[in-house]
Symmetry: D2
């Protein structure tokens, strides 16, 4: 017997809201109950395009509706905390567009509030629900890649220079959310170094390199760039058994898994000999494999997961806590840029239990 | 009237020596006078392959030859200083394989000695003599790219893990030599940060990210990696007018020049308004252009330049001082890895005058 | 003063009709007056998605509307002739999805009828209105490529095997329409050879090679294939001055113009010497150039052209006659497959005057 | 116990001879006994580069040497027959550069003569010994691809226009030799159509399309072109189970095997129903796999095979008969060009027994 759809409102009818509205409207899990935007004309246009959905310009009014189960927030980052805490206070489950909040402290407060209220707070890390990233997560989890040796993520293109956010806060949330999703235990770097530059004098970093030292000793590097005339979306995860390359702009071969690498003889590693000769190193030059990926829309899978988390009273796959882990790196990146030195992260928060 | 060929000996018959010997032997500028290697069997095999060239196992003996004009040193880096200073002391011009020496101090000493003796000390920065790099240099010099906004260089592949050198000293000299060659005034970073990791426990960094802050405010990033199953040789130079991509493994289109970018209105930059709206930013989406490159062997052009520098009593295009600038970054990278913090470089040496 | 929009109905609410409806609805040139489909449920769904547009299941009823200026036919090819002749008889301008008809004779009859009635009959050769094809047409017309020496067009992928049409009639209309559009004077081959095969026993050719001898002596080859696991959309036009490659699946560099080629000395050609030495041949190895292309939707440009042709009482850029030229090649291909020999085309029809 | 090396002479010191000489000289199977060329200066230079090998300008003198076991002929095609028949008459085994001869009749005569004399006549189809082609042969032979549905081979670049040979005879021997090697039972087309054009007025076809109908019903297409500014070396073999793409210019992924395709339900095929609905067709969208290839030089493997064939008194893998099958297609291509129609091949020669 199919379950009664959950009722959801989309707050924010700008760039991302229409995608959320369309997906809530499409599947059996949700009933789209309202569109909310201060600009009610914009909200009305969106409401029409998905059928006859009620419109409101008032969040207060919206949250007073006792039949509403959840809200999805697709507004600028600086408004996320205020809207989410109001919704949680009104007893609504909350989905928040990335980044979860505009500061780590606010994100943590949102997670704590959701946990206390027994509500689902979910981060809209859409990329995590793409077929490619789901496959990467599986390959890492099942040990196909072995131990992770290095990670390199590149997300560059000609981008909109924004006055109130730098290239790290604009683009790196995608990379960080993906790494958090695919690494067992989530993204828990020990130290973070960020190098940003503003060669145009735009008032904010337009080119950025982020280096994360993971607790396993591996290093992850993220290159974000608004000034690149070539568009690249590429993630490499080098493992002790195999190495994976995700080229998101190559639809004919998005994922490649290389059964090639360098082996160091275990004896040499364990005995820790001072003098390592080159003979302890060997190369594997095996096949390359490109797994077929199912076709589905990431956003559709994400709204399904939102409903499933609410119904099962469990944290979403991309939980508020995942969003907080992303914020902790972004905030460290900001500090590192200011100080010019690496930032050591405090031992990771243990908030996983509820949200 | 053609000039009398200069007389040169190659010291070191290992991996690189044969390439040097073959090129000295091929053109009209040089007469290959001897091959020198402690392993005289190896030297003999090399000597035979280029005709009947004398062989010696003794550097002292070699340098006593009054008819010898120059030596080319193709031995391990730790021996460069000893061999080069002996050759300079004997009045010979010297070409040294990269890196110039195994420390900055030794490299500087070599440059000073050559200058004092009025001899040419040349760094064998072979890549600088490739048609692609010569073209890049020209495009930067003539202002085709405008101001340089960012640089990204990637040199990754499955590489030989070496016991006595890390991935920065092994691979980055190529990138640094190229940047030194194409940047007007040479490579003069203000600060250097190096992030290395040794995920296999090999005893040395196998994956490295090097970040250079240039005195212009632009940032250069270099990724070197011995553990990558995919081989990449790519340099991007982002400019205010155009952006250049050099993909050395794509023989059909090695160089691409993109007439695309972001413009920030000058007024906004000059008035330094706090609140920059997005309307000050505009995009250019122009043509892409891939210049035809002449076909020539880089090493042949390099030995020709060595002869020309000697005959004209001028520093070589890739002078000892260029080699020293490369060493200063490599040494800063080593310090940065140890301290975990950026290293500020001392005001640049002014040794350009003679060597 | 803006002109009154023309009134148009879309006949056929299947795969292509919605695209036409959306574009007629979007711009200022057209007022979408009705959707017509035997399956009125399907028509109703389409009508709703573009606003409150009237629906009908009857073509007769539709054509009786005196306010209707034009119809766009997006139904199976075997119905094109019947629908178009009825619409023309009712005094409506007609746009027909490719191919214009299911036989050359029927296509010619449609053209003749439109001409006699002074109505526009336009072929929906959508690809011709893409930025890339418009640019190719310009490059050919302005002589940038010189004389055309050879043409190679590849359109292969895993395709739907269809019971009533072979791979030539399914895929080649695109290539033929494009060639007709970019060649000065249209596509007028002297001889056509078609080689098809049906290796799966599907009852129809699934792999096809079409060879056209143009009246200039150049040869055009078209490869169409439903069985290829790799998708390729590529057109090469080799010219005496430059050669153009259009790779439609490479959004970063769709068009490349190579300033490379072979030159034969004119003297040798003119004197027609028997013994041609290789010294008469020389190579140009010039730059490659990738023109920036404007961003616009092809279908939007096409419906604009339909309106413009009606208002200016001139043939559309992709006229019914263009559609007939495409049909003449398709029909020749069918004959060539049956006979196993090349088919010589009759001197080209001269119907260009009106439609 | 290692066998005594066989003695071989290389006839022809031009473009290809040096490669043969170097490989005969390198391995344990052969002793390079002489270099023979009318231009004894050229022969002497080659002889020196491989050590102190005797030189002669006279084939007669060469063949009189009773210690000589074999000759390798690397001269222009029109001289192959004369040299090979003289060598066979003198009791020497013979390796002949492609094409085996300049006509089918001469090739057949050479095969017959070798067979009668019990000598090895081998075609130098070097590509067949590359790791990629050996792997392709294995994949076809083991049924990995299933039944072969279509073949497409492209070999295009800016090429030297030659006065006495067309683009088919110059380039297609490579493609034909490869197909002959990988198809079980060799290349045995039923019909051959060739379309050539000479758009520059060079006096010979510079662009060619060759279509072969195989006895299995599959169609093979070969595109050869001297006028293409882009260089392509690509072979696609579409199978009922998998499809293989060999891209010889992509060293990072030369071979790709796609587990994708179209299935037609067997029932439909067997019952041969008139009306096939689309529901009988299904698509497989499986993984892609790129097998690792060993690194070895093709020419080295080929000279080893030449020795092995002689010692085992068996035909070489690329036998004279294989060369004759290639010639039969080339000659049919020439006839097809002249007549403008397909050429039906006579039932295949059965000469496989000895050479």
């Amino acid at each position: 017997m199919p379950e009664t759809p959950l009722s959801v409102a989309v707050i924010g009818a700008g760039y991302w809201g229409p995608n959320l509205a369309r997906n809530f409207n499409a599947g059996p899990d949700w009933q789209l109950a309202a569109i909310c935007d201060l600009d009610t004309d914009k909200a009305t246009r969106l409401a029409r395009s998905v059928g006859a959905v009620p419109v409101t310009g008032s969040v207060q009014e919206l949250l007073q509706n006792p039949d509403l189960d959840a809200v999805a927030i697709a507004t600028p980052a600086r408004t996320h905390h205020g809207l989410a805490t109001a919704a949680l206070a009104a007893g609504k489950h909350v989905l928040v567009e990335k980044p979860l909040a505009d500061s780590l402290a606010r994100g943590e407060q949102m997670v704590a509030q959701a946990e206390a209220a027994g509500l689902v707070l979910m981060a809209d890390h859409t990329y995590c629900y793409t077929p490619a990233v789901l496959k990467i997560r599986e390959l890492v989890a099942t040990g196909e890649l072995g131990e992770i040796l290095f990670i390199d993520s590149v997300r560059i293109n000609l981008g909109l220079i924004q006055p109130d956010v730098d290239v790290f806060w604009d683009l790196a949330p995608h990379d960080l959310a993906i790494l958090d999703f695919v690494l067992p235990g989530g993204l828990r770097p020990v130290r973070v170094s960020a190098h940003g530059s503003d060669p145009l004098g735009a008032g904010t970093s337009c080119v950025g390199h982020l280096v994360l030292e993971l607790d396993t000793g591996a290093m992850a590097h993220i290159h974000v760039n608004w000034l690149s005339p070539t568009k690249i979306r590429q993630l490499v995860i080098g493992g002790s058994r195999r190495t994976l390359v995700w080229d998101d702009l190559n639809p004919q071969q998005r994922l490649s898994v290389y059964d090639r690498g360098v082996d160091l003889s275990r004896t040499a590693r364990e005995t820790g000999e001072e003098e390592r000769s080159q003979s302890n190193v060997s190369y594997r030059l095996g096949d390359t494999w490109s797994p077929a990926l199912p076709e589905h829309e990431a956003l559709s899978a994400m709204v399904t997961e939102f409903a499933a988390a609410i119904r099962s009273r469990r944290p979403a796959l991309t939980s508020g806590t995942a969003g907080v882990r992303v914020l902790s790196v972004l905030e460290a990146a900001t500090h590192s840029q200011v100080s010019g030195a690496p930032v050591t992260l405090r031992p990771t928060l243990e908030l996983e239990s509820a949200s």
